[in-house]
Structures are given as C-alpha cells and as structure tokens.
C-alpha cells in the first residue's frame, strides 16, 4: 500500500516537470511556427540517421507535422498526432525521450529499423497508447517499468531486439493487454507472477531469451490465453498443472528449456489446443493417455526428453506432425498409428522401440517423412511402404532390419532421402532404384547387400550423398555416375567392386569425399581427378591401382586427407603434391613409390600424419620435414632412405604418436636434437646403420614409452637416464658393441661359465626371459661376486660382447646401475680367448629366431 502511494507521488512529480517542459516548448514554438508535437517529432528525427531520406518532408518550417510521412493527426480543428508509423524506413539511432511529449499517441510502430539504445522511460507518458510495435530493432537495456503506466496498451511487440533485464512487474497493471511479445532478446530473471493479472492477455511470447525460474502456477488464471510461447529459455521445475485451466489455449510451446517432471495430465483438458511443443526439455515419465483428448491437435512434439513407456495408441485424428524422437520410449509401434490418416511427418527415431515396422503406416497416404532410425526394430521393411506415394524422406538406419530393400521403392516418385544404413539388409539392391526417384541422399552403408550398384541412381542428377560402403557389392562403378554433378560424398569402400575409376569422375566438380578403399579396383588414378577442386578426402587404399600418382593431384587445393596406401602405385611422388596446402593426413604406404621425396614436402604445414612406410623411397630424408610443426606421427620405415637423420626432425614439437625410421639405410649418428621431442611416445630407429652413441640429450624424451635402436652400429654405454629403466631388451640388441651372439642357456651354465672366465676380454650380459631386462652385474673386474640376492629364472639368454676397450675395464655409469636401469647385468672377463671361441661355437649352433622369441615378450622386429 505504501509502495503504491509512493509511486503515485512520484508520478505526480514527473507530471509537473513535464507540464513545465511542455509550457517552455509551447512558448518557443510560437515564435518559430511549428507546433509543439512537430517540435518533438523534429527532435526524434534529429536523433536519427535517415539514409534514404524517408523523413525528407519533415520540415521545421511547417506549422503542424500532420502532412509528414508516417504521421497521422486527428482531423479536429486543433489536430493532435495520434499515430506515428515509421515501420521499415531504414532509420538508425537513438529514440529521443521527446517521444514522451506525444501524449495523444495511440499507435506507435518503429518496427524493422535500426533503433539502438534504451526504450526511453518517457514512453510511459504516452498514456493513450494502445499499440506499441518495436520489433526487429536493436533496442537494448531493460523494458522500462513505466510501461506499466500505459493503461490503454493492448499490444506490445518488441521481439528481435537486444533487450536485457527482467520483465517489469508493472506489466500486471496492463488490464487491456492482449498481445505481449518480447521473443528473441536477452532478457533474464523470472516470469513475474504479476503477468497473470493481465486478464485480457491472449498471446504471451517470451521465446528465445534467458528467462529462468519456474513457470508461475498463476499462469492458469489467464483464461483468454490462446498462445503461450516460451521456447528456448532457461525455465526449470515442473510444468504447472494449472496450465490446464488456460482453456482457450491453441498453441503451447515450451521447447528448449530445462523443465523436469512428467507431462501433466491436465494438458489433456486443453480442448482447443492445436500445437503442443514440449521438445528439448528434461521431462520424464510416460506420455499421458489424456494427450489423446486433444482432439483438434495437429502438431505434437515431445522430442528430446527422457520420456519412457510405450507410444500411446490414441492421438487426434487431425494430427499432421508427431515427433517423439530422442526419448527412452520402448515397446512396439502401435498398429493404431495407421489411424493418423492426415499425418505428414512421423519421427520416432532414437528410442528403444522393438518389434516390427507396422504395415499400417501404409494407410497414411500423405506421409512424406518417416524416421524410425536408431531403435531396435526387427523384421523386414514392409513392402506396403511402397504404396506411400508422397514418401520423401525415409530413415530406418541403425536398427536390426533384415531382408531385402522392397522392390516397390524404385517406383516412389517423391523419394529424396533413403537412409537404411547399419542394418542387416540382404539381397540385391533393386536395379531400377533412381529411375523414378529424384534422390538427394542414399545411404545403405553397413548391410549385407549383394549384386551391383543400380545404374540409374543419378538419373535425376540430384544425388548429393551416396554411401554404399561395407556391403558385398560387386561389379563396376556404373556409367550413370557421370550424371551425378551435384554429388558431394561418394563412398563405396569395403565392397568387392572392380574395374577402374572412370575418368568421368572429373565431371563431378562438387565432390568433397571419395572413398573407394578396400575394393578390387584396378587401373590408374585418372588425371581428371584434378578437376574435383572441392575434394577434401580421397581414400582409395587397399585396391590394385597401378601406375603413377597423377601430378594433377596438385590441383586439389582443398585436399585434407589423401590415403592411397596398399596399392600397386609406382614412380615418384609428383612434386605438385606440395600444392595441396590443406593436407592434414597423407598416407602413401605399402606401394612401390621410388626416388627421393620432394624437398618441399616440409611446406605442407597442416600435416598431422605422414605415412610413407614400405615403399622404395630413397635419398635423404628432407631436412624440411622438420618444419611440420603440427605433425603428430611420422612413419617412414621400410624404405631405402640413406644419409643421416636430419637434426631438424628434432623440431617436430607436436610429434607424439611415433617417429619410425626403421628398416632404411640411414647412417651417421643419432642427432642429439631428437632429445627435444618431449611429447614423443614411440621412437623406432632399428635396422639401419646408425653409429655412435645414443645421445645423452635423450633425457629430454620425457614421454617415451617405446623405443627400438636394435640392429644398428651403435656403440658406447647407454645414457644414464630413467627412460631406459623399463625398456625392452629388444630395443638394444643387434648393435655389435652390445652383442656378439645371443643364446639361451640354463642358468647353471652361466654359473659354470662365470667360474671359468678370468681374463678381461669379454663381457656377458644376461637377459631374463621374464622381464626382458639384462640381469644384475654379478662380477666386475677380476673378482667373482656371489649372486646372492638374485632369484634366477630357469633359463636366461646370454649375450656375449666385446668390451669397448680391450684390456681395460668396462665402465657402467654408476647412475645406470644404481637406478636399476639395466637392473641385472653379468659382467665378467674371459680367461682365454680360446675358450670364448669354443663357447661361440656352441652359440652358432642355435636357431636365432628361437632365441629372440624366447627372449622378448613382444618379439623383436
């Protein structure tokens, strides 16, 4: 009560101020001719940019504004401005507070302009306003509380602005308000319960804001409400059952909030409801049977909730749209679905529906969208669906459907989208498919389909996506493919297709993905592929493609993924490949490419995976590869690369998965720069001719978990770094300085051996088969140390090696021993060279492969 009193006092105070202001202007206006309302309008004009001069005839030399564009006056002797309509005049700028001077205004429309800034609070002075349209501008700030002063206001429409703040509580004063729409702004706060005092309210539109809190249960007092749109906000809590009292409601949209709890059964009382959207909330429980009472409903969308239970058997017979997708519905699809004879769209996808697809769908003659994908449906695709002449989109993907694709589908003249992937469909694809259907998307991936690719899929030249991968198709790519000018995705991977990739592929200039991998294709890659300028992915691995990689590949400036591995390709890599600047993944492995790599390969700065293994590449590894700063994996093993490892490879700072240079002819020492590869987990350098020591910088290989240096000419001690602690012994064998021969002997032989050797010429390492680690030093120098602490396995592999400096003592870094790096090492010296030779003789009798297998948990390469 007190508050109300204060408010009215405030209002009186403002009124006095305003009257004074008006009086002042009146005095001034007399001297200049234009009346006061004209002056207020001029002030409004002065605040605006009027790019197209819509307000060109607003002149201060006029007596009244009544002839001005957008201005309407009463026809009295002393006319007043009652209407201002500036809709769609490209006006921008601030709305002047002078608007508050137009106190006779009943109609104000500023829609579709670029008004910025606040809605001036002075608008509250226009107390006769009945219509206020501000939609599609850039008004910001809150809706002024003074809006509540406009007691005549019937329509307030301000959607699509940048309004913030909460809804003014004063809105409850607006007893005549019929339409209140502020959708698509950035308003926050709750829905004030006061809004429920607006007894005339018919349309409440708050969609697409940031309004939170619960829907006030007082909403049920709005008996005249016909439309309630609050979608895309942050509402939480239950849907109030009182909504069932809004008995005139025709359109209810609460989608895209965070509403919880069940759908109240009272919704079923809304006899006039036509559209009901509760999608994208967190509703649970089952769909109430009472929804069937909504006998006028034409659209129901409960998608993207957590609804459980079965699909109700009864819905309005006027229903056109029924969306229940992305819930947790179970049970089978009721046969009564066929009663929805007017339905055009039914989407039950992404639930747990079981059973077969009811043939009753065929009674819904107007059905053009049927989505049942990602359920657990079984049985065959009913032939009866072929009678749905309007069927445009059919998505049955990701179910357990069996049997053939119905023969009748090939006569469906509206079919644009036929998605049947991830099922167990078998039989041949109907060969006339596409003759009558203007397909845009066909995806049968991952079924058991046999036979050939239908030749007319592209007859209507609409096809954009074609995926037939992971089936058992045979035969060639049909000629009709050349009509597929719109084709973007062309995936035939994982079939038994043969023949060539026709040169007509060059006509398909919109292609962005070609997947032919894992088939039996032969012939060469047509140079025309270079015309497919949009191509991002070219995957043809695992075929029998021959000849060279065409140099036209360099025209594919969008190419991000090129995989031609496991083919019979020969020749050099065309140097033009360095024009494919977007390349991220390049796999040329398992072919017969020869000669050196283009030096500029290092300019492919987006490369993440570079796989060149198992070819016949020769020459040096280009130092430029070191600039591939995004590279995470480098596979170059199994070629004949020679020369030294470029130190620049140490700059591959993103390299993480692996660097594999094994089985090449690399010489020289391992560059110490490789120690900078702090992310690298796998470093494979075995079977080269690398010499020198393992760099001590390898301390920097912090992430290393696998390493192989075997079969090189490396010498010297292992660096004293923790990373070698758990290394597989296979990682080091095959380096002459570390090894003469390797045998398996019973432990007692070792002990015997130890006792017979006295001269410092040879050392012996013992690897245990269990841990793959060399075992502890038993003897150093001349003195024999009893292996007291050791628990020996029954067998051990013994490796004999020459000490680096004959005659002097083999030195093991103390840190190495202390850290249990090679935790168990036998070092002792042979008394007589002859004895060594004798022992060596025994060794040479043994099968080396057997030894290796026994020695390593994972066999050495």
């Amino acid at each position: 009560m007190l508050r109300k009193f204060e408010q009215s006092r405030l209002f009186e105070g403002r009124l006095v101020e305003l009257l004074l202001a008006v009086a002042t202007v009146l005095l001034v206006s007399d001297s200049e001719g234009l009346n006061s309302e004209g002056q207020y309008l001029m002030e409004i004009k002065n605040g605006l940019q009027d790019e197209f001069n819509f307000l060109g005839n607003w002149k201060s030399t006029d007596q009244t504004p009544c002839g001005w564009i957008g201005v309407n006056c009463t026809s009295d002797h002393d006319p007043f401005v009652w209407s201002l309509d500036l809709n769609s005049m490209n006006l921008s700028g601030i709305l002047s507070p002078s608007i508050g001077g137009l106190i006779h205004l009943t109609f104000l429309d500023l829609s579709y302009n670029e008004f910025k800034g606040d809605i001036p609070k002075e608008i509250g002075n226009c107390s006769l306003l009945t219509i206020l349209y501000l939609r599609a501008n850039q008004f910001s700030g809150p809706i002024p509380e003074e809006l509540g002063n406009l007691s005549s206001l019937e329509e307030f429409v301000a959607y699509t602005n940048d309004l913030t703040g909460t809804l003014p509580r004063s809105i409850g004063n607006l007893q005549k308000l019929r339409i209140f729409r502020v959708g698509e702004n950035a308003m926050s706060g709750n829905i004030p319960a006061e809004i429920c005092r607006c007894q005339s309210l018919q349309f409440l539109g708050l969609a697409h804001n940031r309004i939170g809190g619960e829907i006030p249960e007082e909403i049920g007092m709005l008996g005249n409400l016909t439309a309630l749109w609050i979608w895309e906000n942050q509402l939480s809590g239950f849907i109030p059952k009182e909504l069932g009292n809004c008995s005139n409601l025709e359109s209810l949209d609460l989608g895209g909030n965070a509403l919880t709890g069940p759908i109240p059964v009272e919704i079923g009382d809304l006899k006039f409801l036509r559209t009901l959207y509760l999608c994208a909330n967190e509703l649970n429980g089952s769909i109430p049977r009472e929804i069937g009472n909504l006998s006028l409903a034409t659209e129901i969308d409960f998608s993207e909730n957590y609804l459980t239970g079965e699909i109700p058997t009864e819905f309005s017979k006027f229903l056109r749209v029924l969306y229940l997708y992305t819930n947790e519905l179970n049970g089978s699809i009721p046969r009564e679905i066929g009663n929805l004879s007017l339905a055009t769209e039914i989407d039950f996808s992404e639930n747990y529906l079981t059973g077969e697809i009811p043939t009753e769908f065929s009674k819904i003659k107007g059905l053009y969208l049927l989505n049942l994908f990602h359920n657990q449906l079984t049985g065959v695709i009913p032939n009866e669906l072929s009678s749905l002449r309007n069927l445009t989109m059919l998505d049955l993907a990701t179910n357990y459907l069996t049997g053939p694709i119905p023969y009748g589908f090939q006569y469906l003249t509206e079919m644009h989208q036929l998605l049947l992937f991830d099922n167990s469909l078998s039989g041949t694809i109907p060969q006339q498919l596409g003759v009558y259907s203007p397909f845009m998307e066909v995806d049968f991936t991952n079924n058991h389909l046999t036979g050939k690719i239908p030749p007319f899929l592209c007859r209507h030249a609409n096809l954009v996506f074609l995926s037939l991968g992971a089936n058992k198709l045979h035969g060639n790519i049909p000629n009709g493919i050349k009509n597929c000018e719109r084709l973007k995705r062309f995936n035939l991977n994982g079939n038994r297709l043969s023949g060539t990739l026709p040169s007509e592929v060059g006509n398909l200039v919109n292609l962005y993905s070609i997947r032919l991998d894992d088939n039996n294709f032969t012939g060469s890659i047509p140079p025309e592929i270079g015309n497919c300028r949009e191509l991002q992915r070219l995957q043809i691995a695992g075929n029998h493609f021959t000849s060279k990689l065409p140099k036209e590949i360099g025209k594919l400036s969008q190419l991000m993924l090129l995989n031609v591995s496991s083919n019979l390709l020969t020749g050099q890599i065309p140097s033009e490949i360095v024009n494919c600047k977007m390349l991220e993944r390049l796999d040329l492995s398992h072919n017969s490419f020869v000669d050196s790599l283009p030096n500029e390969l290092g300019t492919l700065s987006q490369l993440e995976l570079l796989t060149l293994s198992d070819n016949k590449f020769s020459g040096n590894i280009p130092a430029s590869l070191g600039s591939l700063s995004r590279l995470i994996e480098l596979q170059m093993g199994g070629n004949v690369f020679s020369g030294e490892i470029p130190p620049e490879l140490g700059f591959l700072s993103s390299l993480q998965i692996a660097m594999n240079l094994s089985f090449n002819n690399l010489t020289g020492s391992i560059p110490s720069e490789l120690g900078k590869l702090a992310l690298l987990e796998v470093l494979i350098l075995n079977n080269n001719h690398l010499s020198g020591k393992i760099p001590t910088t390898f301390e920097g290989l912090l992430s290393l978990v696998e390493l192989n240096f075997s079969y090189n000419n490396l010498t010297g001690p292992l660096p004293a770094i923790p990373l070698f602690k758990k290394m597989n012994s296979c990682s080091f064998i095959g380096n002459p300085s570390y090894k003469a021969t390797l045998i398996i002997v019973p432990l007692k032989t070792i002990i015997k051996l130890i006792s017979t050797i006295i001269e410092p010429t040879w050392t012996i390492w013992v690897y245990t088969p269990l841990t793959n680690m060399a075992i502890r030093i038993i003897s150093v120098g001349h003195e024999y140390v009893e292996p007291m602490e050791l628990i020996f396995p029954r067998h051990a592999a013994v490796e004999l090696r020459r000490a680096p400096n004959i005659g002097s003592e083999m030195k093991f870094p103390g840190a190495l021993i202390g850290n249990n790096l090679i935790s168990e090492i036998v070092v002792f010296r042979f008394a007589m060279y002859r004895k060594v030779r004798a022992f060596g003789y025994i060794v040479s009798d043994l099968d080396m492969d057997f030894v290796l297998k026994k020695t390593c948990v994972t066999p050495c390469q």
Binding site: M393, A397, S654
Partner: protein, 224 residues
C-alpha cells in the same frame, strides 16, 4: 533451435512453425551420436579463427571422419588433437562423455575458464595436455579417477588453489607438470608424487614446498 529463431520470430504463423520444425528435424544433430554431440558442444564453446573445426558436422552418425579426431575400430573417439590451433573459449563438461578418449591435446591455445570436473570421467585417458592456455580455477580432484593417466601437463595457465592430494593415487603417472601457475599450499610427496622432481612445480609463487609429514599439519590456511 537457436539458429532458426530469427526465422521463427519473423513468421509468427503456426503453419510456418511446422515448416521450421520440419527443417530442424533434418538438421539437428542426432543425440545417439553422444560423442559427436560432446565434441560439437566444444565446437560451439570455442572461437575457431582458422576454421580447424570446419569438418565437425554434427549430422554425421559419428565424429570419426572429423579432422583432429581419431577413433578406434568401434568408432569411438580415442584422440582429440587440437594443440596449437588458435582456439579461444572454454572447455565444456560434455567432454567427460568421451569414455574411450586417451589423448586430449588442447595445448597452446587461448582457452579460458576452468577445467571441468567431468574430465575425471574420461576413464581411458592417458594424456591430458592443457598446457599454455589461460585456464583458471583449481585442478579438479576428479582427475584422480583416471587410472591410466600417464601425462598430465597443465603448466603455464592461471590455475589456482591446492594441488589435490588425491592425485598421488595416479599409479601410472609418468609426467606431471603444473609449473607456471598460481597454485598454493604444499606439494604432496607420497604415492606417484614421490618420484617427481621440483621442476614439475616451478613458478608457482604461492606454493609452500613439499608437505611436511608428521607433526606439521598438511592443511595450513590461506590457500584458495
């Protein structure tokens, strides 16, 4: 729904709403694609000036053909390689849904905000590389629920608060780097932390050094 909103607002007639919603059903990402949705949530939460996420099409059945994403044979995401990709914005809790993710490589970007608690749900995670970003907040204790974690590199951010003591339970931890942050409190020394060197914790001016066992309480005040 957001991107169609202007359209919907401009055409208030309910008949048109049907059309819009129809369009939606073909465009909206499928939620059975949980991992794709999770990654798409990340895409929406970051700015991507170099369009490295351009191939992230939420309408595909799974994210395995997206660039910078690697999947295993079951089409489950195992790697996310977005190091040094000029991304800005924040991490999203949805990332926690990538159950088989082993490598989360988001280092050297301009990510802000905190490390979501949900990262602790990445049961297969081997490597969490968030170094050189602008992350704030504390190191979630939930990371201690990652039994396979080997590499935890959070250095050069603006992380604050204590180093969660629970992290000492990470039995496979090989590398921990939390240097160059604003961490405080003491450094745990037990469990997997026993073998870590001082370098892992450098340049955290408020860190008090290794915790003292025995009579001195671990939990001294003034660290938030």
């Amino acid at each position: 729904m957001n991107f169609l909103a202007p359209l919907l607002m401009a055409i208030p007639s309910p008949v048109h709403v049907v059309l819009v919603v129809t369009l939606l059903s073909t465009l909206a990402p499928t939620s059975a694609n949980v991992e794709g949705d999770a990654l798409y949530a990340l895409r929406r939460a970051v700015k991507d000036p170099e369009n490295v996420l351009e191939s992230w099409d939420p309408t595909l059945v799974d994210p395995c053909t997206w660039f910078h994403v690697t999947c295993d044979g079951d089409n489950r995401v195992t790697r996310l390689d977005l190091g040094n990709a000029k991304l800005s914005g924040s991490l999203v809790p949805e990332l926690g849904k990538l159950e088989r993710l082993q490598y989360l490589e988001l280092y050297m970007n301009n990510l802000v905000g905190s490390i979501p608690e949900e990262v602790g749900g990445l049961k297969s995670l081997v490597s969490l590389d968030l170094y050189h970003n602008n992350l704030t907040g504390s190191i979630p204790a939930s990371l201690s629920k990652l039994p396979n974690l080997k590499f935890l590199r959070l250095n050069s951010n603006r992380l604050s608060g204590r180093i969660p003591r629970q992290l000492t339970k990470l039995g496979n931890l090989k590398i921990l780097d939390v240097s160059n942050n604003d961490l405080c409190g003491t450094i745990p020394t037990s469990g997997s932390f026993a073998k870590l060197s001082e370098e892992s914790f450098m340049n955290n001016s408020r860190l008090e050094g290794p915790e003292l066992m025995g009579f001195v309480r671990y939990d001294t005040g003034g660290c938030k």
